[in-house]
């Protein structure tokens, strides 16, 4: 089929040819007429091109596109396309305006910066919370946010973690930088003052309450011991034993709570020193051998001389907690294997047991305080419910985290890894 442009052109050509033919037939000027036709045809094209150009430039309002032949069709198609583009651009503009309006209304402060830290745009909360001004667009972010901690974070280029900043004396912000859109970065700040204070209150409460509970408990325990040793009716033997067991347990819980709150408060930010892990594990082995009287098979696989930088006492409690958990939750005669080794990624500690295993839905919640997988069982086995919470916090201080893998009915493996920069390898051959 012929395209509509060609059709229009042919209509004009044939129409004009008929006229020319009629004119030549009447006058008999055949040559002159055909020459005139060719000149007219070319002239009309040139004139149309000129008109089309004028119209497409759009400088004068009077310019109209050519109305006949091929050029009218071309003009029609061009204007159709243009209208579609305009519509698309309108839509995009609308969308970008909508996005801009949404970003202005976000409750967090959002600032976009380029690779040289020049501010590109910012939203309204950024002016309110961070003290930036609209005029600051085009300035460097360091010029306004001068906190040394922030500068260090910005320069480090490692934005996996968020930092907390105190601005205006009292407001606390969580600040995070996200890489986006080629080399640009998004700085997001959220006001966490209330949350922070709440956490502080909780920490203080736990620390104070545990401290206050410890004194009466000591008195209670002392008198119970005294009563047990004094001559008494044998029917009181069992109650006294139970009572004294429970006070011991309660004291363990309080000790753990105090440890936890001191870790959280950061007061054990003691010096990081060399920790002789193999030696600690040797000691633990001796302690655990007594605990595992019920015939657990213990297997230790320890790389000698593999030491790390860290805090000795807290790390010891980590290993102890993981090990005693493994023994507590495996059946008599089960095998518990402990490994301490190093590879290309760092030093690893792991404890595997052949116990009950933990179903996947419980694993993320294991480090919560007093979280029990099985409410009835755990009380019998006598844990405080705080062991893994302590483990989590201590590992946090060592830039590590608890790794758990478990299959119900098969067994569990608890472990942690320490980065290579903490590893100190002593005498390799020892």
């Amino acid at each position: 089929m012929l395209s509509s442009g060609i059709k229009r052109e042919l209509t004009w050509v044939i129409g004009a040819l008929w006229l020319a033919f009629g004119f030549a037939w009447l006058t008999g000027w055949w040559y002159l007429t055909s020459a005139g036709f060719v000149v007219l045809y070319i002239g009309r094209h040139l004139w149309s091109v000129r008109r089309f150009e004028k119209w497409i430039q759009g400088t004068s309002i009077d310019a109209h596109p050519p109305l006949t032949g091929l050029w009218s069709e071309v003009s029609y198609q061009v204007s159709k396309k243009q209208r579609a583009l305009e519509k698309h651009a309108d839509l995009n503009f609308y969308k970008s305006e909508q996005f801009k309006a949404a970003s202005m209304l976000l409750p967090s402060a959002v600032v976009s910066i380029d690779q040289n830290h020049y501010i590109e745009w910012l939203n309204e909360p950024a002016t309110r919370m961070l003290g930036l001004l609209r005029q600051d667009v085009g300035r460097r972010i360091e010029a306004i946010l001068r906190q040394p901690d922030f500068l260090e974070y910005l320069k480090s280029g490692d934005y996996r973690r968020a930092i907390t900043l105190t601005l205006d004396q009292s407001r606390i912000f969580e600040v995070k930088i996200i890489n986006y859109f080629e080399n640009h970065r998004l700085l997001i700040a959220t006001d966490i003052t209330e949350l922070y204070q709440l956490a502080q209150i909780r920490r203080d409460f736990v620390a104070n309450a545990s401290h206050e509970l410890r004194t009466p408990l000591t008195v209670l325990h002392g008198y119970l011991e005294l009563l047990t040793d004094m001559p008494h009716d044998p029917q009181w033997d069992t109650p006294l034993e139970h009572m004294s067991n429970q006070t011991v347990r309660m004291r363990a819980i309080i000790e753990d709570l105090l440890t936890l709150s001191s870790i959280e408060a950061g007061s054990i930010n003691a010096k990081q020193e060399e920790v002789d892990v193999p030696k600690i594990l040797e000691q633990l082995k001796a302690e655990v051998d007594q605990l595992a009287s019920a015939g657990h098979k213990l297997k230790f696989e320890i790389t000698p001389g593999l030491m790390i930088k860290g805090m000795p006492e807290p790390l010891k409690s980590v290993f102890m907690n993981l090990l005693s958990n493994a023994i507590r939750y495996s059946p008599d005669g089960g095998e518990v294997s402990v490994r301490w080794y190093v590879d290309d990624e760092g030093a690893h500690f792991s404890v595997s047991d052949q116990g009950l295993g933990i179903s996947p839905e419980h694993i993320p919640r294991l480090t919560e305080r007093f979280y029990r997988v099985d409410k009835d069982r755990s009380r019998v086995t006598g844990g405080t419910g705080l062991g893994l919470a302590i483990v989590k916090h201590v590992l946090d201080k060592h830039d590590s985290h608890l790794e758990v893998s478990s299959m119900p009915g098969v067994g569990s493996t608890f472990g942690c890894s320490f980065a290579l920069n903490r590893v100190i390898q002593g005498q390799k051959d020892a």
């Binding site: 001068r146 500068l151 004396q169």
Partner: protein, 243 residues
């Protein structure tokens, strides 16, 4: 003067040096701001660690001043800047000096607070504590305003710094009066000691606000090209409001 002027030199090296100098001043200012914030919190909550942090910060501040001096002499020696560039360099040296002095004064206060905390006392119960607090909070705010003015090359807040500084002179007088009256009734050497230490601390805090005003004046000179130090209040306000 406009911020963009820094990028209009034919010498690329000069652009970079000037920009680095500008950022170095602000970074050093950030250190002092942090130091004052730590000190404020230490005074508020008797936190010995924070007071120690504030004292330790002084080393970094001194290093910042040295770095600024080095950058300034580099630019002066290599590029012989004139006009606004020269003003920036002279003022950077001045501002760095003021910041360094502020850091030193803050250390004095921190040492006093530390002593008070370790004796077992509570900073909040010290004589004239409220005045010290007022002075410290004002100085934190003033240095922030002054540095923001520097980073934005904007003199609109210089007047407010000026007024605040005058108000703080008044607060210092009141503080001195209150310490004086306490001294008259104190009967033990320990108490007199404490009063005297406090006198030094409020004096140091007032000095910090003076230095903050100096920075404000430096910014005004940098932007307007005219010294406002010997002007009276009216002339100063007039000059600063000129476009």
């Amino acid at each position: 003067m406009n911020r963009d002027e820094f990028n209009k030199h034919i010498s690329e090296q000069m652009n970079r040096n000037i920009e680095a100098l500008f950022n170095e001043v602000l970074e050093m200012g950030g250190l002092v701001e942090q130091q004052l914030a730590d000190l404020n919190r230490a005074l508020e909550s008797n936190d010995v660690e924070l007071a120690k942090d504030a004292i330790k910060q002084d080393e970094n501040i001194n290093r910042g001043e040295m770095e600024i001096d080095r950058l300034c002499s580099t630019v002066l020696a290599r590029q012989q800047p004139t006009a606004s560039d020269l003003r920036l360099i002279v003022m950077a040296i001045r501002i760095a000096m003021d910041l360094e002095r502020m850091g030193d004064e803050a250390v004095k206060i921190a040492k006093m607070a530390l002593e008070q905390c370790t004796i077992g006392g509570d900073c909040t119960t010290m004589p004239a504590y409220n005045f010290l607090r007022q002075l410290m909070l004002a100085s934190s705010q003033m240095i922030k305003t002054a540095l923001n003015g520097f980073s934005r090359l904007d003199t609109s807040d210089v007047m407010s710094i000026y007024h605040e500084e005058e108000r703080m002179d008044e607060v210092l007088n009141q503080a001195v009066e209150s310490i004086k009256s306490e001294l008259l009734v104190s009967d033990s050497a320990d108490k007199v000691d404490l009063q005297l230490r406090m006198l030094m601390a409020v004096r140091a805090a007032e000095r910090i606000t003076d230095h903050a005003l100096n920075i404000g004046e430096s910014v005004a000179y940098l932007v307007k090209g005219q010294d406002i130090r010997n002007l009276d209040e009216e002339a100063m306000a007039k000059l600063l409001s000129q476009k």
